[in-house]
């Protein structure tokens, strides 16, 4: 009952953050612009990619509104069921998924493909937040090991695809939430000791599960001059694209690196490089500002959340978005190995857009509900 009353107030200026919406819209627009620039405007026998992206964004807004309107406490109650569902989907993708470039990450649905790992990250945040919120005072076993065990099957299934990028993002959610919940020094120490002891096994597990091209990517990251013509190719082309943008960029459709397809995956994982090439360092500063503003607002939401679930949920979502953001830009700029992580809100892809928009809807939901706790 209270919820319904509050729903009416949710759109009032003081609760409903228009700045938040503005930032999302701005970033989405720049993403569509870059996709528009780099993909054929009139492809042979198909819809232009940027139009498809607009459709995904529309669907993303639907997800956003749904996540905004539902009480996150109610959503939280479904956490374990949703997590089980995600695990099932991750198994399905291994059995019946579509293989592309040596990885099996997508479930075909009609003409579309669905990437469960994008949603796995979101559901993991929800599950861990739910777990920690229900039992605030925990021993180290319950703080670290139990959630770790919850997280592990999902991680292994994602690495099996293999999808190193999503796996790392997934793992980072667990680590960030653990840090937010707070490891006391002794517990932290014990965990670190375990981590060190387990490292060779973990390394073997991770390295062994990697595809050749992934190992080579890591190798070329360690030694960038390894082979510019072959394995270091993507990283080099990406750096050339970004660097050649210089201060002002080459303008819309002017990015030779991306227009002439030297830059691979220009509309997906390397969309940032396309943007940086065409809009230069000034454009990059604007874009980084927009992202920083969005995360800043999200952090405000987490800081002002009035219950553990809200704060934990917000923190987890922020960690998820920030990790993808930093790793994606870092890899295109040659700071990290190329692992295949989409840039939130900008890379083309339905699963990524819908999952990210859901996460943002959930964040605004937390802000909207923070007053209700005192009623």
């Amino acid at each position: 009952m209270i919820d319904r009353v509050l729903d009416g107030r949710a759109l009032a200026p003081d609760n409903f953050d228009w700045r938040f919406l503005g930032l999302i819209t701005a970033i989405l627009s720049l993403g569509v612009l870059s996709i528009y620039s780099v993909t054929p405007v009139q492809p042979v026998g198909g819809t232009p990619v940027y139009v498809k992206q607009l459709a995904w964004i529309a669907l993303g807004w639907v997800a956003f509104v749904v996540m905004l309107v539902m009480d996150y406490h109610k959503v939280s109650r479904l956490a374990y069921i949703l997590y089980a569902l995600v695990l099932i989907l991750l198994v399905v993708v291994l059995v019946a998924g579509k293989t592309s470039r040596g990885a099996q990450r997508w479930i075909p649905i009609g003409p579309f493909v669905f990437q469960p790992s994008e949603f796995a990250k979101l559901v993991l945040v929800l599950t861990l937040a739910t777990y920690y919120a229900k039992s605030p005072r925990l021993g180290w076993m319950q703080r670290a090991v139990m959630p770790g065990l919850i997280m592990l099957p999902g991680l292994l299934l994602i690495l099996k695809q293999p999808d190193l990028g999503s796996g790392l993002a997934y793992l980072s959610i667990y680590v960030s939430m653990l840090l937010v919940v707070g490891m006391r020094s002794k517990a932290m120490g014990t965990l670190l000791l375990f981590a060190v002891m387990l490292f060779p096994f973990a390394w073997e597990l991770v390295w062994g599960s990697l595809h050749d091209y992934q190992r080579e990517r890591i190798m070329t990251f360690v030694d960038p001059a390894y082979d510019t013509g072959g394995r270091g190719y993507h990283g080099l082309q990406s750096r050339i694209a970004i660097g050649s943008g210089e201060l002002l960029g080459k303008g819309l459709h002017g990015g030779t690196q991306s227009q002439l397809k030297f830059l691979p995956e220009g509309h997906t994982d390397f969309v940032f490089a396309v943007f940086a090439e065409e809009w230069g360092f000034l454009g990059v500063l604007v874009l980084l500002g927009l992202f920083a503003g969005l995360i800043w607002l999200a952090l405000e939401i987490a800081l002002k959340a009035k219950d553990m679930l809200g704060a934990l949920l917000a923190a987890g979502l922020i960690a998820m978005l920030a990790f993808c953001l930093v790793i994606n830009i870092g890899m295109t700029a040659g700071l990290f190995p190329i692992v295949g992580i989409p840039l939130p809100l900008m890379s083309y892809g339905g699963s990524s857009i819908v999952a990210t928009m859901s996460a943002l809807g959930l964040l605004l939901n937390i802000k909207r509900r923070r007053l209700t706790l005192f009623y």
């Binding site: 517990a187 660097g243 210089e246 030297f262």
Partner: protein, 619 residues
């Protein structure tokens, strides 16, 4: 593990304090990213801008059209025809193995050859030719699969073509891709892997005129290496055209006369040094050699027992046989060793050092003067003079007539033959000269070897009574850029100053060789011919007097006939050598006669001007 007593509210506040750390690290990380991007875009921006320019633009070499080659009358000897070449740019090839397999399947390439071609040194950015002369069907097949074959392209280009097939093959030569070794040489410095250069004949010696200069097209390419648009074009400069001194008609006749026999016929205009014909057999087809050859095809040509790649006119070295008597006679007259009154009795043999050097005529020629000795080619007479002259004097005169050195004809790898002397023997064989060897040398046997080209030049000298011109093959070069015709002048050689009486006597006796001597079969109703026969003994058959027909062909003597005409006012010198044909008078002399007759019959007085030649020019 301590369990702290704290309320949910405290817990939340604690959590949110830690989130402040998040805020700080967020600022830090965003700052770091901005810094990195500043470094890439501002600090290193121009470097990456350069890289991106090079990345998207490729310099595509535009091959020049090779100059054309005409004969002296404007008959086309070498031109270019359109052809499809298959190229691969390594930079754009993703999977080399798969590519080779596909190409082998599409156009029937030799797999090993392609693999070798692709692993050669050279730029990864420059397309390298894998095959040329694709059929239209093959070219279309490749083009229709272009998207599946990154780095592969078909280029329409020009292929060297010799309309006359093997006509004048040794003289014209052939073309081929420049080799890695050749690229290291300064003369080919401006070329690149895949450039076509002349590899033999005039194509090689005049390559720097014929080849032109390659142009360059800067094109924008995509990551597949496919051209998107042209940014800049620097047009190639076509090569210059050559007008040879060769008369295609005489050349054809000479080749037809040689037929299936091995040998050479050379005709030189004595008043200019123009080489009118230079035929060598066996022959090759330069059209075949100018295309991409498989290793097997190449081996077949190189290992052919007839050595078709040897230009017998300039690279074949044979004993001069009795044609050498011209030089011995000149040496004798000049040194006063003999004069017109000298008489030698020929009884069919010349005893020396315990053995008898036989005359070719059993029973001998009787008493001989120098004229008759030349006319009947009396060996004993020349044994006698040779013995008096000594080997070193004969060598001196041989060298003054141009033997033992290059004639300077502008063809690659000319051979010099051997002019033996006492010094030569010590140097070359590390043995002293044996007196008996002088006797053999006097009739052009033994160590002495000459090329047919040298003998033809000896005849121009004799015909011109000491005045002769350097042999030349190219009479004019037409610059493509300006249309200007550069006429190459005839270059006189230093005069061989012998006494006029010596030349008079040689002219008189050489004409008599034809009218009443050993070269009766060269007698012509059209023109007075002067000449000398020769029979170059093959080493194994010295003193063998069997009839030619009884000797296996491979071991038979080589037939010589060297000549000039008209005897009263010489304009042409002709040298004929036919391997394993036996006596020179029987076979070589009539061939020379036909060439000379053809020359005087069709040749208007005075040299053809290049202006005439120009009329026949067409690209």
């Amino acid at each position: 593990m301590s369990v702290r007593g704290s309320t949910t509210h405290d817990e939340l506040r604690e959590l949110q304090q830690r989130l402040l750390l998040f805020k700080i690290s967020l600022l830090l990380v965003m700052g770091l990213l901005a810094l990195r991007l500043w470094y890439l875009q501002i600090n290193e921006g121009s470097y990456y801008r350069d890289l991106s320019e090079n990345n998207r633009t490729r310099a595509v070499v535009m091959e020049p059209v090779r100059g054309l080659i005409y004969d002296r009358n404007g008959v086309l000897l070498a031109n270019n025809v359109p052809s499809f070449g298959l190229y691969v740019t390594l930079e754009d090839v993703k999977d080399r193995k798969a590519l080779i397999a596909t190409l082998v399947n599409f156009v029937g390439l030799d797999e090993a050859a392609v693999r070798k071609k692709l692993s050669e040194r050279g730029s990864r950015l420059l397309p390298r030719k894998v095959k040329d002369g694709l059929t239209l069907r093959e070219a279309a097949l490749i083009e229709s699969h272009r998207l599946d074959l990154p780095g592969v392209m078909v280029r329409a280009e020009s292929q060297r073509n010799y309309p006359g097939g093997p006509t004048a093959a040794h003289l014209l030569g052939y073309v081929g891709e420049v080799s890695s070794d050749q690229l290291e040489r300064p003369e080919y410095a401006e070329l690149h892997l895949g450039s076509i250069i002349g590899q033999y004949g005039v194509e090689r010696t005049y390559d720097r005129f014929l080849r032109g200069r390659s142009g360059q097209k800067t094109v924008e390419v995509n990551a597949m290496g496919h051209e998107k648009r042209t940014v800049e074009v620097e047009k190639p400069l076509a090569g210059d055209d050559l007008y040879l001194t060769i008369d295609a008609r005489l050349q054809g006749l000479a080749e037809q006369l040689l037929g299936e026999e091995s040998g050479a016929i050379i005709a030189i205009e004595t008043t200019t040094g123009d080489v009118l014909a230079m035929a060598s057999r066996p022959v090759f087809d330069p059209n075949v050699l100018s295309r991409e050859l498989t290793a097997k095809q190449w081996d077949k040509i190189v290992q052919d027992e007839g050595h078709p790649l040897t230009n017998r006119a300039t690279q074949g070295q044979y004993p001069p046989g009795s044609t050498f008597k011209i030089i011995v006679a000149a040496a004798g007259l000049e040194t006063g060793t003999v004069n017109t009154t000298t008489r030698v009795r020929c009884l069919g043999g010349y005893p020396f050092g315990g053995r008898v050097y036989r005359d070719w005529k059993a029973g001998g020629h009787g008493v001989m003067g120098i004229v008759d000795a030349i006319v009947d080619s009396c060996d004993v007479f020349f044994y006698t003079i040779g013995q008096r002259l000594g080997i070193d004097t004969m060598a001196e005169f041989a060298e003054r007539f141009g033997l033992g050195q290059e004639t300077g004809v502008e063809l690659p790898s000319e051979r010099t033959g051997i002019v033996p002397s006492t010094a030569w023997k010590v140097k070359a064989r590390n043995e002293p000269w044996m007196p008996g060897e002088t006797i053999s040398a006097a009739i052009g046997q033994g160590f002495t070897t000459v090329t047919p080209m040298q003998m033809a030049m000896v005849m121009t000298t004799v015909a011109g009574k000491g005045e002769s011109f350097r042999p030349r093959i190219v009479r004019a070069i037409k610059e493509r850029a300006t249309g200007q015709v550069l006429e190459l002048p005839s270059v006189p050689r230093p005069k061989l100053a012998l006494k006029p009486e010596t030349y008079e006597l040689l002219h008189e006796s050489l004409e008599a060789v034809v009218t009443r001597g050993t070269a009766g079969r060269a007698r012509s109703g059209l023109v007075r011919i002067a000449g000398k026969t020769g029979t170059a003994q093959t080493a194994a058959l010295k003193d063998d007097r069997r009839k030619d027909q009884e000797i296996p062909k491979k071991l038979r003597d080589h037939a010589w006939f060297v000549s000039f005409a008209p005897a009263e006012a010489p304009r042409i010198a002709v040298a004929v050598l036919i391997e394993n044909m036996g006596h020179g008078g029987s076979w070589a002399a009539p061939m020379a006669k036909q060439v000379i007759e053809a020359y005087v019959k069709n040749k208007p007085a005075g040299p053809a001007t290049v202006a005439v030649a120009m009329r026949g020019r067409h690209d």
